[in-house]
């Protein structure tokens, strides 16, 4: 018998007459919707809201939770996702009543503690990145990218210098080209060199035309390789007036060791749900603050947080601002967690975290090297990418990934970056103990043995999850995205 309790959908658990909530008392005369709203009052029934007791609801979601894997179970080695441990203290402080119960439009005088906290976080992010100014408004990495690219765009508009093109390496995350497109730029892909880095000579040739607004670079890149010519890349762009955008997805390799601002980079976003330990939440919420150099500061989103004496205020008078990307002040409760993490570790601790993240990744690399083939040679930092060459008997990267589930691991990132065939991208982060990584290596070793001796076992994995392999092709062919009774 399966260890999972089969849990139906909410709509199949509808039990008329039950209720899961105790509503506040009504101390005023009851207003009838028909009287006040007339023909606009709802006639359609709320067919899809179930009637359930509190117990039913709690069991439902608790059972669903057992189908998930999570960082609190074990290694979650998704490359470029930085699935580090989410400290419990952060969850406690972000739930303090004086943070949770604040309205975003309250008078500034009544939220000085919140503003002080935001200001401290901005200062910390500037210190870590080597930049001069910060906005905490973007809700996630992709929105941070969008904000950064719009800042660059506003900068060029301000100097009446229309440029059309953004350069993006072929190893980049898909959000980079998607974002540039949304900012109205054409995207040109640049090929990685044999060492996995940008080819500076080819870059110079392209940039010399003067129509390049910016380059978007992830450093270290998605192969885990540090762009060794980054200072030269910045110089090449700057010579022709271009800007350098750094995608901070992989900042976890660099804290206290090297800073984008010192390389010459102009603007970058930071994923607080990666490097700064705020939980991924099964897909969000995140936070994607943007930091930039002083020359781009006038273009930051509105409002900007300013400190005058001992008090903090929002400054809306920002005529050159790129605008606004979120309704209110950013994902505040995520920002609280991030600052708590930063202050838990302190400057030294953050540096130690990056060092150990890189050590862990290199340890896994060394241990896996006899088993799997590297995508690119050369030194790597916080993550390492293997390819599917040498997988026996037609076993694919996906099969290996699915079989890891049976061994109690979340699989690594697979088939990304696109420039590595059957990529297996592994990032353990600094919060993994050595014995957990050893357990992972043992699992990979065992799976490769199975792949040689009984490949069907691997090809038909997973066997131990709440579901066997799911048919994604069928799902896309005739999408069923809402519940319907079977006729």
């Amino acid at each position: 018998m399966s260890r999972f309790i089969e849990e139906k959908l909410l709509f199949e658990k509808d039990h008329p007459g039950r209720i899961g909530v105790s509503l506040p008392e009504n101390d005023v005369p009851a207003a009838e919707p028909e009287k006040f709203l007339g023909a606009l009052a709802r006639k359609a029934p709320l067919a899809r809201l179930p009637e359930m007791s509190e117990v039913d609801v709690v069991r439902h979601f608790t059972r669903l939770s057992t189908y998930n894997y999570a960082v609190d179970y074990g290694l979650y080695p998704l490359g470029s996702c930085t699935m580090k441990y989410n400290p419990k203290l952060n969850e406690e402080v972000c739930r303090l009543e004086g943070f949770v119960n604040l309205h975003p439009m309250q008078e500034e005088a009544t939220v000085q503690g919140a503003l002080e906290l935001l200001f401290s976080l901005q200062e910390a992010l500037c210190a870590i990145s080597g930049m001069d100014a910060c906005t905490l408004q973007p809700a996630a990495g992709a929105q941070g990218e969008f904000t950064g690219m719009q800042i660059i765009r506003a900068h060029f508009d301000d100097t009446k210098d229309p440029r059309k093109v953004v350069l993006i390496p072929d190893s980049a995350h898909g959000t980079n080209p998607a974002t540039s497109h949304m900012a109205g730029y054409g995207v040109e892909e640049i090929k990685s060199g044999a060492d996995g880095c940008v080819d500076v000579a080819a870059l110079r040739e392209r940039v010399v035309k003067g129509d390049v607004a910016a380059i978007m670079l992830t450093v270290p890149n998605t192969l885990g390789i540090f762009e060794k010519n980054i200072a030269e890349v910045c110089a090449v762009l700057h010579e022709k007036g271009g800007q350098v955008y750094i995608d901070g997805a992989n900042l976890n390799a660099l804290m206290g060791i090297t800073r984008p601002g010192d390389w010459g980079a102009d603007v970058m976003h930071i994923n607080l749900h990666k490097t700064f330990s705020t939980p991924h939440g099964g897909g969000g919420p995140g936070a994607g603050p943007v930091v930039c150099k002083a020359h781009l500061e006038p273009f930051l989103p509105k409002p900007v947080l300013v400190k005058e004496g001992d008090s903090y205020q929002w400054d809306y008078d920002r005529p050159k601002s790129m605008g606004k990307v979120l309704g209110f002040n950013g994902n505040f409760l995520v920002l609280v967690r991030a600052l708590c993490y930063i202050e838990s570790l302190g400057g030294e601790g953050l540096k130690r975290a990056s060092e150990l993240a890189v050590l862990n990744a290199n340890y896994l690399r060394a241990r896996l090297l006899p088993l799997l083939k590297l995508g690119f040679d050369g030194p790597t930092l916080h993550e390492v990418v293997f390819c599917d060459k040498d997988l026996p008997n037609g076993v694919t990267t996906m099969d290996l990934a699915k079989r890891l589930i049976d061994y109690g691991f979340h699989p690594p990132t697979v088939y990304f970056p696109l420039i590595v065939h059957g990529a297996i991208m592994i990032e353990p982060t600094e919060t993994e103990p050595i014995e957990e990584m050893d357990r992972f290596v043992d699992a990979v070793q065992a799976i490769l043995r199975e792949a040689r001796e009984s490949p069907d076992l691997v090809k038909s994995a997973p066997h131990e999850a709440s579901r066997r392999r799911l048919d994604e092709v069928a799902a896309a062919r005739s999408p069923r995205t809402v519940y319907k009774e079977r006729g």
Binding site: F11, L23, N26, P29, A31, P33, A44, L46, L49, M52, V58, L64, T66, Y67, N68, A70, Y85, E91, E97, F99, T110, A114, G130, A139, A140, F146, G174, P177, T179, H181, M182, G256, S277, P279, H280, G281, G282, G283, G284, G327, F328, L333, L345, G346, E348, G349, L356, V358, L359, N362, K402, H410, P433, A465, S466, R467, R468, L470, T481, V482
Partner: protein
Amino acid sequence: MRYLPASNEDINKMLAAVGAGEVRDLFASIPEPLRLNEPLAIPKAVSELKLKDRFITRSYKNASLTCRPSFLGAGAYNHFSPSPVDQLLLRSEFYTAYTPYQPEMAQGTLQAIFEFQTMMADLTGMDVSNASLYDGASATPEAALMAHRIHKGTKILVARSLHPAYREVLKTYLRHLALTVEELPFGKDGRLDLGALKAATTPDACVVLVGQPNFFGVVEDIKAVAEVLPPGPKKPLLCAVVSEALSLALLEPPGACGADIVAGEARSFGLPLGYGGPYLGFITTKQAHIRQLPGRICGETVDAEGRRGFVLTLTTREQHIRREKATSNICTNEGLCMLAATIYLALMGRKGLVDLAKLNLSKAEYLKGTLGKRGIRPLFSGPTFNEFAVRLKTPVKTANGTLFKHHIHGGYDLGRDYPELQGACLLCATEAVTKEACTAVADILGGPQ
């Protein structure tokens, strides 16, 4: 450091396996001149107890809404959230999981998304929903861009009565694309001026965005708006933008009134105000447009044994496959907030949600009536849900200052965004305010009856 398990012995063992002498050697690929030779300018680590005290001190410097009645809405409504919502969010299996890219070990998250999509489609009167967007403001340009992809027209029509921050975010997103935004005025009833809409609806108009209820709290007649639009292939799409999702429980759903897209903010479903985030953007539409939706969508499928299961689907719309041709750049969304809303809606059920919405209507109407008796009357004649605009006898800032002395958070100053509405104030009354608080506000703003 308690989050870093490596002991010195572990470190030495790992260095030996790597073949490095010291940790520093692992960073040899970073050119020496680029290294940081000083400590980060970040304060030293402190103990858990001390840090907790520091955050508590920061939280005490805020005058929160706890024990201070609030009449502030303006896109963020103060609602009660039942205890199970946050308790369930604290399950590690939900909050420490990643996006469900490996569906076999993420069925919990995926089933919840499927349930969310079903309930949001039902509440809005639509066929399909995505798995969330950042917030109501950023859902607005996503809806506009979606309409543009479907219709191809380059003019975006937006009611000036739509939330000012939503309009600002809309303009920011569209600024550098070859699209124009035209704002449409509101009439004396506070609703979209249908005559102006008719005049602005040229064949290049791809969408009309209307707040429901709008920023003044006024409920629009979506059916009447739909009827103004010229039939035929050039008919622009109609998008209702909902800032207060609870209103959906009492209002005829936009989908039943002729809307093609409903986008907005569902934070009211179980999430805290949290000084502005994280919130919960959503977008729903008709089945025909599903392939133009932005962001993640969960779909039903079967596993190798034929059992029902769920996966992320139609991913060829998304940035990780389509890159610059994607329907949006969104990747991380508001997953845990979506889960909160799903739990909340399950607890409420159809009766609870409708009763709660009626309670909001009742409180707001009571406040409206009580103010009216003291000579403070609604600014607009249109019907409202839990928020309405009034003109005060004193400047809004002064009035709010007085209210705050009585430990009450006053309303939103409409003069900030609408020069012609100087002195006008937006007041919201949810289930969280008592009759007593409503009377107190009326007494302070209007003088005793």
